[in-house]
Symmetry: C2
Subunit: 208 residues, 2 copies
Amino acid sequence: MSTLSPSRVNRTDASDRLLHAASEILAQRDTLEISVAEISARSGLNHGLVRYYFSGKEGLLLALLKRDAEKALEGLRQLVESRLPPARKLELHIRGVMRTYFQYPYINPLINHLQQSNEENASALAEFFVGPLHKYQECILREAEDAGLIKNVDTRFFYFLIIGACDQIFKCRRMLGKSFGIEELNDSITDEYSDFLYSVVISGISAP
Amino acid sequence: MSTLSPSRVNRTDASDRLLHAASEILAQRDTLEISVAEISARSGLNHGLVRYYFSGKEGLLLALLKRDAEKALEGLRQLVESRLPPARKLELHIRGVMRTYFQYPYINPLINHLQQSNEENASALAEFFVGPLHKYQECILREAEDAGLIKNVDTRFFYFLIIGACDQIFKCRRMLGKSFGIEELNDSITDEYSDFLYSVVISGISAP
């Protein structure tokens, strides 16, 4: 496979291709075990470009999460701004988080890795992902409260509850068969779990 | 500091001391960054004993989690077998999970690490921790259902919800200030969050 040097390819195109290659490789794994050589081979680009554009593998992983988080947050922004009823927004938000984790199985380990690796990564993650996600959830909750549907809810605790509950089934991926008799984490089980979560949460915070 | 070789110390005593040293060091950190040299220095035992008793650092970390999980599960077993009302058992279970994560801040990263590291670790974790925890939760739920307090609940989904929700606030530890205005993860905030979780869950699954 021919590999191209920085001078031969457009910056955006090359960094996109590296991210796309890493995403494709990681989507087939449930760990972050990936080498620069693999990314280089899959993208058809010189391995030096990973250092050139992302200062190394860690930087590439952060950029990859940022790319996917932006897509997910844009979907959430559209949901928040839509004219759907507030309860339906909450339901679709839960389904959206589950679908994002399902489509990109590496997102969950990547978030774990980045928030526990060092202060700088945790801070970046807070800025481009956790903060905005929390803000959008606040909007959905305030709207539901104003409509008299739910009581006043601590939005910080709501975040930990929803995101933690969605995280966990993916985090347990390797133990689902052995501990829970779930043979495969497929569309059907993630849908069922989304239904369960929505039903518990909406009853759990409904206005008296 | 003098270090002792295998022949000079009793097996149980030495492996306990190594685990105790590792626990003390990790309790002051929020990562799993720990070296065999540090464990050796803190315990006053020869660093070769880590390999001798645990086949290396990974084995020691697994043994440490097993030790702490056994303590936590014994507390849960006593709770399940107690004569307390079922709703109170559920409340105390949530508080117990939160307190365990609070007292041993390394448990959460350790579980993440072990379940994502390889099949063998994930399988061990399923056996000594996830499986028994799920069984005890099932007992609490069945009792509450028999008492007419809650509806029939998918115990697998209940596990993901409770454990995930408890996990998340600790997982976000480094972002709490920046994204949520929580300066410190202390007793008071973990109590408040336990109250919130219990209230959402008990209302969310209560019998119609």
